[in-house]
Amino acid sequence: MERLTFTYAGGRPATRNAKATLAGVVGSGNLEVLVEPVAQDGAVTIEVTTAAVGFGRIWQAVMDDFFARHGLGDLRISINDVGATPAVVSLRLDQAIETYLGGGQ
């Protein structure tokens, strides 16, 4: 197990009344993403718990791109990873954010 934390500042606040959103499942090669609104001066905090140790640099790159893509703030994102590939991580994050912003499908 490895715990990683990423913080980004300067994002635009997401919708105030958005509700916490969960995407994905805890299963081999998959992950669970929880997006919650938190007032923290536009910052985004991402906490990752992962079964795969030693991929910090790739997580950093995935999260940098995620933040650049959406530019959101005032969010707490919790990730419970069971060895998902970066492709799955990105897809789940995008799905969670789109659902969070769009209020479901």
Partner: protein, 567 residues
């Protein structure tokens, strides 16, 4: 070469002596001698399976070129066992010329010393053992061919002297019924029989009347009922339950980013889960885009069960196949407008014909791979395995000899030639579809293909590249599509590939500004550029999510092999 038949003592420079009469019929006479040796073992053309070893010893001569029918699916497994069990003191030095090495016996013949030289196309599960036998000096490889190349050489310089083939049934005259898995049999038998070779067939049963004749008796010398029915591998059955959301996302990109704009109607799919996902979202996603009747109408493809929902939805008009697939017999029989079937109702496949169709008549090939380098070269070779190619290079290559036009072919040709002073011509679409990381975090994008190290360690003339970068038109990953047709320099091409290589070291090594520039020019397309909503990229989009769903979609006609039944 002229044969020297004059006595050695004859004056060699006498100007008046007439040239020695050349014997022009040595092959037929050799054939007669072999048949005479075997005659006591046969009643007409029928030989008992207990006499199989004696028959092969009577027929075979040291150094013969032998085709032991090994296909993707059906296997001449009984004759393979008998051949591998022969005494190398009596038969040795055989040169095996066969498309697929699927069974252990296909390599046992080299370990025992019965055979020593090999020309082939695909070794699949035997790849690691083949590499060991080659490095141990027990096998000399002539070449690793594509299917079409090997079949072509049967008619030029690798004609089998003896062929050991496989059919469903024979009659007493020696006519053969192959059933749906015709596969390589016609091409093997034609090359052998018309060059005075010997054809021996193992069959599951001897019958009085065949459902249809696939190989005429004239071309067959001996038939024997094997003790057990021949083995058939259900090689192309993909359980939809194993398709991931990422594969659904990539399938959506293939349809919206390639099939729709290029109007792809004649195509071949690879055999992986990536392309099965495309087949399974035709009735859902492609239908929702209004593409029915506009894409995916004519196929060169084995009868994949994953195609059933698209056939039932009316997308698919015709399918010609290399071989059949276990469990699809009744479904195929009930859909004769779609498949190629005989008067008996069962399918007639033909690997050589379907390979030619895939090469010349299809506008698109899409398939997966293990490694892609910065020039777009693609390879499934890994160190310690000599796996061969099968048909992918013939499917996944621009057919330079093609002359007929189609909207797909013309559009690809225009894109490749825009702004260049070149004679107009079209180009085939060759798409490599890969997730950037394979299982165990193995990157699919690499600086250098393992094929180069393999070529060096195995002493090959060339690195075993499956699809050359110059033929690849698009690379599709979960990150996007790189359209290599539009790249004008090696640098652009490299950045286009890096730009879809995700978080692999190759992808992380991209020049971000160059990649954004390629995206602005439409050379790189992201899912959002294509208007794809990632929230719908889930397994819910699959028209069948399990083997049981496929059975249901077929109206109960598809009868999956036991190993795929989990209900």
């Amino acid at each position: 070469m002229l044969q020297q038949t004059a006595p050695a003592t004859a004056p060699s420079c006498a100007p008046s002596s007439a040239p020695a009469a050349r014997d022009w019929n040595t092959q037929a006479r050799n054939r007669e001698a072999r048949l005479a040796r075997a005659a006591p073992l046969a009643r007409g053309k029928v030989v008992k399976s207990a006499d199989a070893a004696a028959l092969l010893e009577a027929i075979l001569e040291t150094g013969d070129r032998v085709c032991l029918e090994g296909n993707n699916q059906k296997q001449a497994d009984f004759l393979a066992k008998v051949l591998a069990g022969l005494d190398p003191a009596r038969v040795n030095g055989l040169h095996m010329v066969q498309s697929v090495l699927a069974l252990p016996e296909h390599l046992d013949v080299f370990e025992s010393g019965v055979a020593s030289r090999l020309d082939f196309s695909f070794s699949g599960p035997q790849g690691a053992r083949l590499a060991r036998l080659v490095s141990g000096g027990q096998i000399a490889i002539g070449a690793i061919h594509t299917y079409l190349e090997l079949f072509s050489r049967y008619f030029v310089d690798l004609t089998p002297r003896v062929s050991l083939v496989c059919a469903q049934a024979a009659d007493r005259n020696g006519n053969l019924y192959t059933g749906p898995n015709t596969e390589d049999t016609p091409v093997i038998v034609e090359a052998t029989a018309f060059k005075r070779g010997i054809v021996i067939a193992q069959v599951n049963e001897l019958v009085d009347t065949l459902p249809r004749v696939d190989i005429p008796a004239d071309w067959v010398d001996f038939v024997m009922a094997s003790p057990k029915p021949h083995y058939i591998e259900p090689l192309f059955t993909r359980d939809p339950a194993q398709i991931s959301d990422i594969q659904v996302l990539m399938a959506m990109m293939a349809i919206k980013g390639i099939y729709a704009p290029y109007e792809v109607n004649r195509l071949n799919h690879g055999i992986g889960f990536d392309t099965a996902a495309i087949e399974l979202i035709l009735p859902t996603y492609a239908e929702s885009l209004g593409l029915k009747g506009k894409i995916c109408r004519h196929w060169a493809l084995n009868p994949h069960p994953a195609l059933i929902p698209a056939i039932e939805a009316g997308f698919v008009q015709s399918v010609h196949s290399f071989g059949s697939e276990l469990g699809m017999e009744a479904y195929i029989r009930a859909r004769p407008d779609v498949f190629f079937t005989g008067p008996d109702g069962s399918m007639r496949s033909n690997r050589a014909m379907c390979q030619a169709a895939g090469h010349y008549a299809c506008d698109l090939f899409i398939g997966s791979t293990l490694q892609i380098d910065l020039a777009g070269n693609s390879s499934t070779a890994t160190l310690g395995r000599i796996a061969g190619f099968g048909g992918a290079p013939n499917m996944g290559a621009d057919a330079r000899g093609r002359r007929h036009a189609s909207p797909t072919w013309l559009k690809a040709g225009r894109e490749a030639r825009a702004g260049r002073n070149l004679v107009p011509r079209g180009q085939k679409l060759v798409v490599q579809m890969v997730e950037t990381y394979r299982e165990h975090m193995q990157p699919a994008f690499v600086e250098t293909l393992d094929a180069f190290a393999l070529a060096e360690s195995a002493g090959m003339d060339l690195p075993p590249v499956m699809i050359y970068g110059e033929d690849v038109t698009h690379i599709l990953t979960e990150e996007g599509i790189a359209n290599l047709l539009l790249c004008r320099t090696d640098e652009e091409r490299e950045q286009a590939i890096r730009g879809v290589a995700g978080y692999t070291p190759v992808g992380l090594g991209r020049d971000k500004r160059a990649v954004e520039n390629l995206r602005d020019r439409g050379i790189i397309l992201r899912p959002e550029d294509l208007g794809i909503d990632k929230r719908s990229a889930t397994r819910d989009l699959l028209a069948a999510r399990s083997i049981k769903d496929l059975v249901r979609a077929s109206g109960g006609l598809y009868d999956p092999p036991k190993r795929f039944r989990n209900w």
